[in-house]
Amino acid sequence: MAAACAAILIAIALAAVFAGTVAPHDPLAHDTPNRMKPPGGESLLGTDNFGRDVFSRIVHGSRISLYVAAMSVLAGTVLGTLLGTATAYLGGWLDLAAQRVVDAFLGFPLLVLAVVMVVALGTSANTVVIALAMVLTPQMARLSRARALSIKEETYVTAARAAGASPVRIVWKHILPHSLGPVLAYATGWVGAALVAESALGFLGLGVPLPYPSWGGMLNEGRQYLEVAPWLTVFPGLALSLTVLSFALLGDALRDILDPRGSPRSS
């Protein structure tokens, strides 16, 4: 199961990276005589109101969407894990203070913050990355902190401390490697969520600016032609759902493998 998801995702990732080769047409090329063609023939999945090939746009769109999702989760995970692990290990008032701040951010509505950031920093891929990373960091901090707290009590950590290892070394060589399992599993699931958030922003018109294709943007553009050209909506959404599904299932599978305890939030 995990292997199947991984395979799908690798295929999607490869298609994104080699978009130029995979996509049969130029995603930005207007082809007015051929506009609004249903799927079939020249255009595998149809053309949009400018005559652009839907399939090519989906393939190219995956680049931006995946970039944003991956970068934001990467940033959030790195920051959050460092933060959580360090404060958990160092303990004391630093830990308490950090925990309070993290708690304040925990339920933060992702989309609301992303909208605010886009208003402030303009619509660009990197803005979305920052916004998503900001919301993800507390979650990861919490998770890694919990792991670090339990690892801290292990004998090998005490032994390392007795041998005179510096806190940095202990965190780096002992605590972090053992925290990585659940963190990785959650992070994978989060890529899917970040993907949906990026598409939601694009759908609202607050994502990556046109005419560059992104899945959310395509859904937004296709909306006006919903009745006459449903393929403009169906296919990008299908691509999105499939990708998110793969990430979610992969994350679940990883969690089954890597997270020994199985918190109530997993299943």
Binding site: D103, L106, P109, L121, G192
Partner: protein
């Protein structure tokens, strides 16, 4: 109990404050100049004097802390940040009009989700590894992976093509025209519940499975209690804390959903208001509405926790440690 309540309210205030600082900070520390944005980013030339005058008028030259203080006071006193930059209308009236809509929507969605997904989660745990379990698990995964706005579009497509349905245009409050209100909100609420329910069903199932391992369950069965009493009376009641916790956590996702679904279905709520303001770069409205949304969400989360604390006093301690 009173101490717990005080603690939670303090936490609510702190969280909202943190959120307001973040939102304010993000918008004020932005690279662009608000005054330029207003006077015409379209390239229309304007003199520096005009820009300076506007900055003075908007209070942009005051120290940042003072601006924040003024805005915070305005929020607390019900002014909600003054006027919209685009329409000039007081934000207060926007909020008064839009907040009830969103709150109602969120309330419907939460109620519907709980009513549907808790039984489903119980069913899945009870019939573990048999077909009801797999069906429910499949549904929850779909709920989390398939974006609600896509589903909304597909739904609309289906309704229009197959049933020749056209959405009601004008929003009415439930006390004005119940039937119209129902027609307007039913689809958005269903879609809003889609994602939220999947989280709740999932955690219900997981929590139930955890509790089913406990020794007191075996005892209850050994005592000869009917299975139904065991599952509902003992297992479910003890499985509730993580469910309540997740309900609070996922409110943020629910709120994000209202942003999108209100926009799609044209409901005059705060979500759509925020999006419209964002598209128009209407900074005051964005600032105030975003903070209000966060506050509303935290308040609902608090209420959810408190309701449960009333039902089971022990919980106040376990939810504290869980959070």
């Amino acid at each position: 109990m009173a101490r717990y309540l005080l603690w939670r309210v303090a936490l609510l205030a702190l969280s909202t404050l943190v959120a307001s600082v973040v939102i304010f900070g993000v918008l004020r520390v932005l690279p662009g100049d608000v005054a330029i944005g207003i006077l015409g980013g379209g390239g229309a030339p304007h003199s520096p004097e005009v820009r300076e005058a506007l900055r003075e008028e908007l209070g942009l030259n005051d120290p940042l802390a003072a601006q924040y203080g003024k805005w915070l006071w305005s929020m607390a006193s019900g002014e909600f940040g003054g006027q919209s930059l685009v329409t000039g209308r007081p934000i207060r009236s926007l909020v008064a009009r839009e907040l009830p809509v969103t709150l109602l929507l969120a309330l419907y969605a939460v109620l519907l989700s709980v009513l549907v997904s808790v039984p489903l989660g119980v069913l899945a745990a009870w019939r573990w590894k048999r077909w009801p379990d797999y069906v429910v698990r499949l549904a929850t995964i779909a709920g989390q992976a398939v974006p609600s706005f896509w589903l909304a579009l597909l739904l609309i497509l289906g309704l229009v093509l197959v049933f020749h349905w056209s959405p009601p245009i004008v929003y009415t409050h439930p006390w004005e025209d119940p039937w119209n209100h129902l027609q307007i909100v039913i689809w958005p609420v269903l879609l809003l519940s889609w994602e939220y329910s999947s989280y709740i069903a999932r955690v219900t199932r997981a929590s139930m499975l955890d509790v089913l391992q406990e020794s007191y369950v075996t005892t209850a069965r050994a005592k000869g209690l009917p299975e139904r009493a065991v599952v509902l009376g003992h297992v479910l009641r003890n499985a509730l804390p993580p469910i309540i916790t997740v309900m609070g956590f996922q409110l943020g996702a629910l709120l994000g959903g209202t942003l999108i679904l209100e926009s799609i279905f044209g409901l005059p709520g705060i979500g759509r208001g925020l999006v419209t303001a964002a598209l128009a770069r209407d900074y005051p409205v964005v600032q105030s509405m975003a903070t209000l949304l966060v506050f509303a969400m935290l308040s609902v989360s608090l209420i959810i926790d408190l309701v449960y604390t009333v039902a089971d006093p022990r919980i106040s301690y376990s939810t504290r440690t869980a959070t």
